[in-house]
Symmetry: C2
Subunit: 160 residues, 2 copies
Amino acid sequence: MMSAAAHRRLAAESWESLLRAQVAVMRELHKEPIFKEVGSREYDVLFNLSRCPTGWLRLNELNDNVLLTQPSISRLVDRLEERGLVRRKTPDDDRRGVLIGLTEAGAALQKKVGRAHVQNIMHVMEEGLTDAEMQVLLELTGKLRATVAVRAATPTPSGK
Amino acid sequence: MMSAAAHRRLAAESWESLLRAQVAVMRELHKEPIFKEVGSREYDVLFNLSRCPTGWLRLNELNDNVLLTQPSISRLVDRLEERGLVRRKTPDDDRRGVLIGLTEAGAALQKKVGRAHVQNIMHVMEEGLTDAEMQVLLELTGKLRATVAVRAATPTPSGK
DNA sequence: CCAAGATATATGCGTTTGCATCTAATATAC
DNA sequence: GTATATTAGATGCAAACGCATATATCTTGG
């Protein structure tokens, strides 16, 4: 059993380590010349669209995965639309909403950037961690994300 | 032994999971009303300054930990300076550089925000992970960060 | 069925960010 | 020791961002 203070410290330190690792890797990945064509957030939107079964995502679904406010995503999508990389369409069942989907050009660009990017991710990750470690990291971050998602969805999941 | 394709996929997925977990937790933490007083990046600078032995950090050292460009940090520091939270001073040994340090008001604000923030971090983290899991996460992200730092510092550490 | 509230996205506007570039100071080459 | 290259920050300016709020649609209670 751990003291309350030690528990608190562990939580804070593990979060900070996660944050700094993300910053370090992100900065390294962002050096790729491929990101001159699309900003990393813009790529992230293209990526999310490429990885969804129907090919269409609601604006608010995009918003869950990208660390931007709703208005910023709306305008990011505007810019992608102007460049002919994505399209908007209104869903039949809820005409308040918008569905965003890749155009052919958008899908092609995503694939092109994605290939280079994945290659780079692999170099960075494999330099730091073994396959087994990556597997553990994947599980732990997945678990963390899942519980946070639940927390965010409910008013007061546990006490507070 | 893992196939090359599976290895690549594992690397990409573990990185993505890390990224999304960071986004999810960050968004949750950012809801705290305490961040009305200082933006989370501004707090991050105050935090980094509070956690360094000498009390002074170079601008480029801050830049290593915060995901902003050098000009942006320079201006972020401008704003903090105008608010009386940090001070600039020129180091004797290298008069190109700048040292940034907390003022008393800055240190006080950091402590105040920090307390609430750590409390919140603890709630979020402990809901998702056990102490043992946090420990593992801390180690893996630390290892990852360390190797990326080396990679960033050297021209071509391994092949590429 | 209608009014009141909630939800999904868009838009006005001031602030912050990044890119390119500038200045000042140090390190290197000759 | 002087010229050249390099490094550390600062600054002009256009693009991107967040906050507050507007608009349109859906949902709910009566």
